[in-house]
């Protein structure tokens, strides 16, 4: 069975005392630039192509939110590279300013637990930068791992999966969309209220209200359930990078693991030719409906006036995947855990609540309601926001962890991941960071340009090669070049 390389990019929400959205790009730049020494401070954009569509065309421009379009009117524009403020970390991760949000993109990982932990380690990097900025400015800086501002603005947490191009758009769409629609039941981060869709008190997903399209290349506005961006970060003749934009930023690493693992199950089923077939005519509306079914099994309308529940869809994937992934202990465990959670949701809620972000948040926020008080209030939304605050003393998720109700890896367990690349090609990127900017002229997901004794040379980082552990100890460019040439 093919191992699937995956990564997660999270755009963080943040506030600086006395500052606002007009200042957000400059403030995100300042926060990102508080990264410590030991990073590379550039990114190689030669192989980036966000306007290319998997369906074989390229759009002239991507849609943007008209509200955001006015923020920078009349301001002098800095060069794009200045605005981005790119950093490459010793673990092979990328940290930069993306549309006014500090974005941490994990190094690409094979393992589910490995990726969930790298995602959680990213929180430490971002909050450490925020702390340094706060000390410099003498102002409070708060960082939120969420996807919504409750006023109609959303910012993303995207997943990337390396898949063979031979699978093609149509098969990927059919295999993924039903799962993405149903997935919030087990992976949503929860949200009080609604933004742009039908009223509700509380829903499972941070992001569900922000999707209107079935499939498109856009990510900033008129967002699709299935994003068709064709930017493989690998040889394009062989690979697609499946770019999933419909997921939430999870606080619980176990939710992050489940979010990624479920997509991997769908991909393995597709590659084995046994993926369940569900035809959902309006997946964006269906996902919003699923998100609202916090007190019921929910309903998903299917083609032909039929309907089903998100649980049935999820269980169809789990059942089909059992024999396909039986040799993979991590994916097999994921299937068992998902079955248990679906069974526990209504019958043994204690076994569900503290394993799923939205359920833990709903349980906690219910405690604050006075008899007769409604959910859809600013006070409840303020508590909702506090769930996502990355502060060990004030955050509500961190409060659940401190109370021993939710398991979260310790700082001591996570911090080493910020300087240790996972297995795979991130090891080569990490080695280039250690060699520094005197040696590394350019670096990206799929390539390095190094200054060798024979001049500047480009090295490809094939995504499916075996990268030896020797890369962790590389101390000169000739040694690194020899390893990369031998892949």
């Amino acid at each position: 069975m093919r191992r699937i390389l995956a990564g997660i990019e999270t755009e963080y929400g943040f506030t600086i005392e006395g500052r606002g959205t007009n200042d957000q790009v400059e403030d995100a730049m300042a926060l990102v630039r508080k990264s410590p020494n030991g990073c590379l401070r550039f990114w190689d954009y030669r192989f980036e192509s966000p306007r290319k569509d998997l369906r074989g065309f390229e759009v002239d421009q991507l849609s943007i939110d008209p509200t955001d379009a006015v923020f920078d009117q009349g301001k002098a524009q800095l060069p794009a590279t200045e605005i981005r403020s790119d950093h490459i970390l010793p673990n092979g991760a990328r940290f930069y300013n993306d549309h006014g949000h500090p974005e941490y993109a994990t190094p690409e990982c094979y393992g589910l637990k490995e990726l969930a932990r790298h995602d959680a380690a990213g929180e430490i990097w971002v909050t450490d930068c925020a702390q340094r900025l706060a000390e410099e400015l003498h102002k409070t800086v708060r960082v939120y791992k969420n996807n919504s501002d409750y006023h109609g603005a959303s910012y993303g947490t995207h997943e990337s999966y390396l898949v063979p191009r031979s699978l093609g758009f149509q098969k990927l769409y059919e295999a993924l969309v039903p799962l993405l629609v149903a997935r919030p039941v087990l992976t949503g981060a929860g949200k009080t209220g609604f933004e742009g869709r039908s009223p509700c008190d509380f829903q499972m997903s941070q992001r569900a209200d922000f999707f209107t399209e079935k499939a498109s290349v856009d990510t900033l506005y008129r967002r699709p359930i299935f994003n068709t961006r064709d930017e493989p970060h690998a040889p394009p003749q062989s690979w697609i990078r499946l770019h999933v934009i419909s997921g939430d930023a999870n606080l619980m690493p176990t939710c992050t693991l489940r979010k990624v693992g479920l997509v991997k199950l769908a991909l393995h089923l597709l590659e084995a030719g046994v993926c369940p077939k569900w035809e959902i005519p309006d997946p964006a509306s269906a996902m919003a409906e699923v998100s609202r079914s916090t007190n019921s099994e929910g309903r998903i309308d299917l083609a032909g006036a039929s309907w089903t529940t998100p649980r049935h869809i999820l269980e169809s994937y789990l059942l089909a995947a059992q024999p396909v992934v039986s040799t993979d202990p991590e994916l097999s465990q994921l299937i068992d855990d998902c079955y248990s959670l679906l069974e526990a949701r209504f019958d043994r809620p204690d076994d569900f609540i503290f394993q799923v972000d939205w359920a833990a948040k709903q349980w906690l926020l219910q405690q604050a309601l006075e008899p007769g008080e409604g959910w859809n209030t600013t006070a409840q939304k303020s508590l909702d926001l506090q769930y996502h605050l990355l502060d060990p003393d004030e955050g509500l998720y961190t409060g659940l962890v401190a109370a021993g109700l939710v398991a979260h890896p310790s700082h001591q367990e996570l911090a080493p991941l910020l300087v240790t690349p996972p297995s795979g090609r991130a090891k080569a990127r990490g080695a280039s960071v250690r060699l520094g900017p005197e040696i590394t002229v350019a670096a990206g997901w799929s390539n390095l340009r190094l200054r060798t004794s024979r001049g500047e040379q480009d090295f490809a980082l094939p995504p499916d090669a075996d990268y030896p552990d020797a890369l962790d100890g590389v101390s000169d460019v000739e040694e690194l070049g020899a390893i990369l040439n031998g892949l």
Binding site: T21, T67, H151, S154, G156, L220, S296, L364
Partner: protein, 60 residues
């Protein structure tokens, strides 16, 4: 500063819709344990207006 609300008004108001009215099978809420005092104290300290002030730019 720009603080205009975005287009977030409900596009299809459904006044008759209730939480357990999706048409799918539903189950009642169950009794659940209460949060520890330390956690309740954290919740009491939260600025009840912070969500009103929290504004972000759209990202991807």
């Amino acid at each position: 500063m720009i603080h205009a609300d975005r287009t977030t008004k409900p596009v299809e108001p459904q006044p008759d819709r209730k939480l357990n009215d999706e048409g799918g099978p539903s189950k009642p809420d169950l009794n659940r344990p209460s949060a520890p005092n330390e956690l309740l104290k954290r919740m009491k300290n939260v600025d009840p207006d912070q969500a009103k002030k929290y504004r972000q730019r759209s990202g991807e």
